[in-house]
Amino acid sequence: MIHDDNHDHDHNAPDSGPTLRVKALETLLIEKGLVDPNALDALVDTYEHKVGPRNGARVVARAWTDPAFKARLLDDAAVAIAEIGIAAGPQGEHLTVLENTSTVHNMVVCTLCSCYPWPVLGLPPVWYKSAAYRSRAVSDPRGVLREFGFELPAGVELRVWDSSAELRYMVLPMRPSGTEQLGEDELGAIVTRDSMIGTGVVPYPPAEPAATK
């Protein structure tokens, strides 16, 4: 994994500004008993390895194969995901799932900062937090989609959701055609992270190994 390589950087080099700053904060807070270093480690581990788009992919696959679950998901997502073992947790208390159809395509942004449905998608990708995405997702969403390689037909209504308050949004992408014979696990494996943000659709056959953890 890329991170292990990063750890092998030259330890004799001076720390970068932010590294120094964070070290200072962390060591002081630990010394004062204000944070528990094991708690920090566990949180990092959780968001590095345990929480990610695989969760959302499972939700999507279940919704595609179980209409009653889908109905519950669209009604109260925070509770529905608990059915398949995903606890709501931070940034998931007010989760809402937006269904893509042949006439409506949903796309999610946080223009103010980076709000994102952590429990189902993990932490947001770099581009989601960029000034470019934050400004153009609302002002030129079709242009943004084009940059993701996706041309939305003019007849499809594009709805962009700005997570400015407490609601966190996940897109339920359309099930691609040709997947009728796939089981739930196989379906989960083809769902891409970007399709659950709304900057793409689920390709089938998969364009590349699905970009999810």
Partner: protein
């Protein structure tokens, strides 16, 4: 179900079942305590057990039937909601102790792979977070009366950006339609500055892309922004109020009818609007 030992009265009788596990003892005690508190009576308890689906009933042990009755009666009586139990179960199934809930972890076996200290990390998430804490019960609190409902036309106020950071600049002064009332939430503009929680309704407001940006956005393209009630003004529906030609009187009626109206400022042309350079051809 004739001939079964059945439920029997609360008072232990001669063929009282043996407790095979500690949880069964606790179940017995809890059920008795709730009956003592008149949460439900023994008839309701017995009838609930009898409502178990036959295959479930036959497969269940004696106290598993008690568990079924207890859970369903608590829900029917409105003491807990099924969804609350579901969420807690998800957390527990994912390896949490009753006081700790992993953050968004998928289902896995209880192999105890988390070190005790790792559990501490999840205290930050905690069970209260798993349930959405007080946030969820506030959200559905009926005592906060909403000023708007779905379909209402509203205008996003022009507000001082220093103190009102959750109303994005691009919607200020623009018209929209209430798409949905999300319920009651703490108001960050006050809460984030120690000025109180000021709970109020928060709405998804639907803005037409053309209204926001002009230009050639396809009709039907929309931007939805979640805005607290304090960010919104009603748009005067003159036809509904029936303003007539006598200016003085009608102005007074308008003033009375719309208590929160602010003068509508024309939307400023923002410097950034539509100046996005075309992406270079790759």
């Amino acid at each position: 179900m004739g001939g079964m030992h059945g439920f029997g009265p609360v008072v232990p009788e001669r063929d009282e079942p043996v407790f095979h596990a500690e949880w069964e003892r606790r179940m017995f005690a809890i059920a008795l305590a709730m009956m003592g508190r008149r949460a439900f009576n023994v008839d309701e308890f017995r009838r609930t057990i009898e409502r178990m689906p036959p295959h479930h009933y036959l497969a269940a042990t004696y106290y598993e039937r008690w568990l079924y009755a207890l859970e369903n009666l608590l829900i029917e009586k409105g003491i807990v909601e099924r969804t609350e139990i579901d969420v807690v179960m998800a957390a527990v199934r994912a390896g949490a102790s009753p006081l700790r809930a992993p953050v968004g972890e998928p289902d896995r076996g209880s192999d105890g792979s988390d070190s005790p200290d790792a559990g501490k990390a999840q205290d930050s998430a905690g069970l209260s977070e798993a349930l959405g804490g007080g946030a969820r019960s506030l959200r559905y609190d009926q005592s906060y009366h909403p000023r708007f409902k779905a379909g209402d036309r509203v205008i996003a106020r022009n507000m001082n950006p220093e103190n009102h950071t959750r109303i994005p600049r691009y919607v200020r002064g623009h018209h929209g339609i209430v798409h949905r009332d999300w319920g009651v939430f703490v108001f960050p503009d006050t809460h984030a500055h120690g000025l109180g929680t000021k709970p109020q309704h928060c709405y998804a407001i639907e803005f037409d892309a053309h209204e926001l940006w002009g230009g050639d956005h396809p009709a039907g393209d929309r931007v939805y922004v979640d805005l607290w009630e304090d960010y919104l003004d009603a748009i005067l529906q003159t036809t509904a109020i029936g303003v007539k030609s006598r200016n003085g009187e009608s102005r007074k009626r308008l003033a009375k009818a719309v208590t929160n109206a602010r003068p509508v400022k024309p939307a400023r042309i923002r410097a950034i609007k539509n100046t996005a350079p075309k992406p270079p051809d790759a």
